[in-house]
Amino acid sequence: MQLSITENENITVVTVNESRLDASIAPEFKKQMEEIINNDKDKIILDITEIGFMDSSSLGALVGVLKAMGNNGKLIVCGASGVVLELFKLTRMDRIFTLSEDMASAKQAFIADAK
């Protein structure tokens, strides 16, 4: 399970360096994300551009992450495309998560929020 984390202007960018997010890594993904949230990171961009496949367990893990974040901050999921985006739509998770097409618009969303 590979996550890389960078921080810039109070925005934490978490990039998932995996081509598949499935049951084999979903629990570890959730655990690492919860640690990031517990470190008082309240503006998180989750970059899933590299993920070409997500299964139901990982969708559950993502919702778990969103619930852990609660009202204490904002999470933007960026770079969902193809079957991953289809899964978000099929399960209406596109209405639960804030989705951004790319990194630039995700950052823009935080800047717009601040104003």
Binding site: S56, G60, T91
Partner: protein, 390 residues
């Protein structure tokens, strides 16, 4: 330990035998590789101490032969050598030699080398015992899981073949037992209720929840919000989904599920259903000879508090079909096109067999789409359920 000493020199054989007997080992002797091999096949030795250069079969050839034979206990091989040089040592290790002892034979060196042999043999012995125990447990678990799969499959409903419906299904769990399930039943002669469920994750815990839901959902009348009437049936799927969402969120921490739940009004030729994150169903219109993927979405069950659902309606005519399937099929490659059975590829596959009866469709899916090797190692459960209305 039982030790075989192989050397063409009588003097060396007797010296080694003398030392080994003093260290309380049982000793056999052989004059060359040929005689040694005869003894090895008849007796059980833990250690062979062999000279390198001998007539008939030399020490290296003997060692290779021992390694190739794969005896059930490990035999520790010590090569006696006056030869040195890197290549000789490398050749010996490659042949399977464990250790070397130099000539002339020194009592202390021999004692220490045998201690080292004993240490390795003890480890081999422990490993062997653990492997046997693990293999036994693995066999038990596999048998248990196979029996569980059979139980699970036996609880799935039989194909319907009435004057109102034909149904057929395909079911293959990922790891013996699956998190997918489905059921259908008639609560009264005018209605057929069906549900198809995919519990998130797979394996035993998903299977247990799946089996519990499979057998109880039909009975939990509270989920239906009251008796099933023509009036209530119209929005029953939404009510059912919202109630089940509450129930799962209250009771189950680790799993959620995707579902299509429907009720067919046999008199009015209407179907009401709710889509809760399950893959898009497909409907076949017999009159137009047209298969349509229904672009309908919905929240999974047990993921979001107070999620709202909506009932969809389909009017059907005799010969029309309704196909529901879980997302497990999306992860396997088609034997026909070598492409993943997802999105358009999956639609095209169903479209090519759209006019067949449900049983024949399932037969085509099972025998022409799916690759046997893939089915032995599925990443997720595959389940497909097809209704044909009469």
């Amino acid at each position: 330990m039982n030790i075989l000493v192989v050397d063409d020199s009588t003097e060396i054989r007797l010296i080694i035998k003398h030392y080994l007997t003093k260290f309380d080992h049982n000793v056999d002797l052989a004059v060359d590789g040929g005689e040694a091999w005869e003894k090895i096949t008849k007796n059980e030795y833990q250690v062979i101490i062999s000279d390198w250069k001998m007539p008939i079969m030399n020490g290296l050839e003997l060692c290779k032969k021992v390694r190739k034979a794969k005896f059930k206990n490990y035999i520790y091989f010590i090569l006696l050598t006056g030869m040195s040089g890197k290549q000789n040592i490398l050749d010996s290790i490659k042949a399977g030699v464990d250790d070397f002892a130099s000539k002339p034979i020194d009592s202390d060196e021999l004692k220490i080398r045998l201690m080292s042999a004993q240490r390795v043999l003890n480890l081999e012995d422990i490993l062997e015992k653990k492997n046997i125990a693990l293999a036994k447990i693995n066999d038990q678990l596999s048998t248990d899981l196979r029996n569980a799969t059979n139980t699970q499959i036996s609880l799935l409903p039989s194909n319907l073949n009435t004057n109102k419906f034909n149904t057929a299904w395909y079911y293959k769990p990922a790891v013996f037992v699956g998190g997918d399930t489905f059921n259908y039943f008639s609560p009264s002669p005018e209605f057929l209720v069906f549900y198809k469920i995919d519990i998130s994750g797979h394996g035993i815990s998903a299977a247990m929840l799946s089996m519990s839901l499979q057998s109880t959902l039909g009975l939990k009348r509270a989920l239906y919000g009251g008796p099933i009437t023509r009036e209530s049936s119209y929005d029953l799927p939404r009510v059912f989904a919202e109630n089940l969402n509450k129930m799962i969120l209250e009771n189950t921490a680790d799993h959620y599920l995707t579902m299509i739940f429907g009720i067919v009004d046999i008199k009015l030729n209407q179907m009401h259903y709710v889509q809760a994150g399950h893959p898009h169903p497909m409907s076949y219109n017999k009159e137009k000879d047209q298969l349509t993927e229904i672009d309908v979405d919905g929240f999974p069950i047990g993921l979001i508090e107070n999620a709202e659902y909506e009932t969809k309606h389909i009017d059907y005519s005799p010969g029309d079909k309704f196909i529901v399937y879980s997302d497990g099929i999306n992860e396997v490659d088609s034997a026909l096109t070598n492409k993943k059975l997802e999105s358009n590829t999956l639609y095209e596959h169903f479209n090519a067999i759209r006019d067949l009866s449900p049983t024949k469709m399932i037969d085509k899916i099972e025998n022409t789409w799916l690759i046997k090797d893939q089915l032995e190692n599925l990443p997720d459960d595959i389940s497909i359920l097809i209704f044909e209305f009469k």
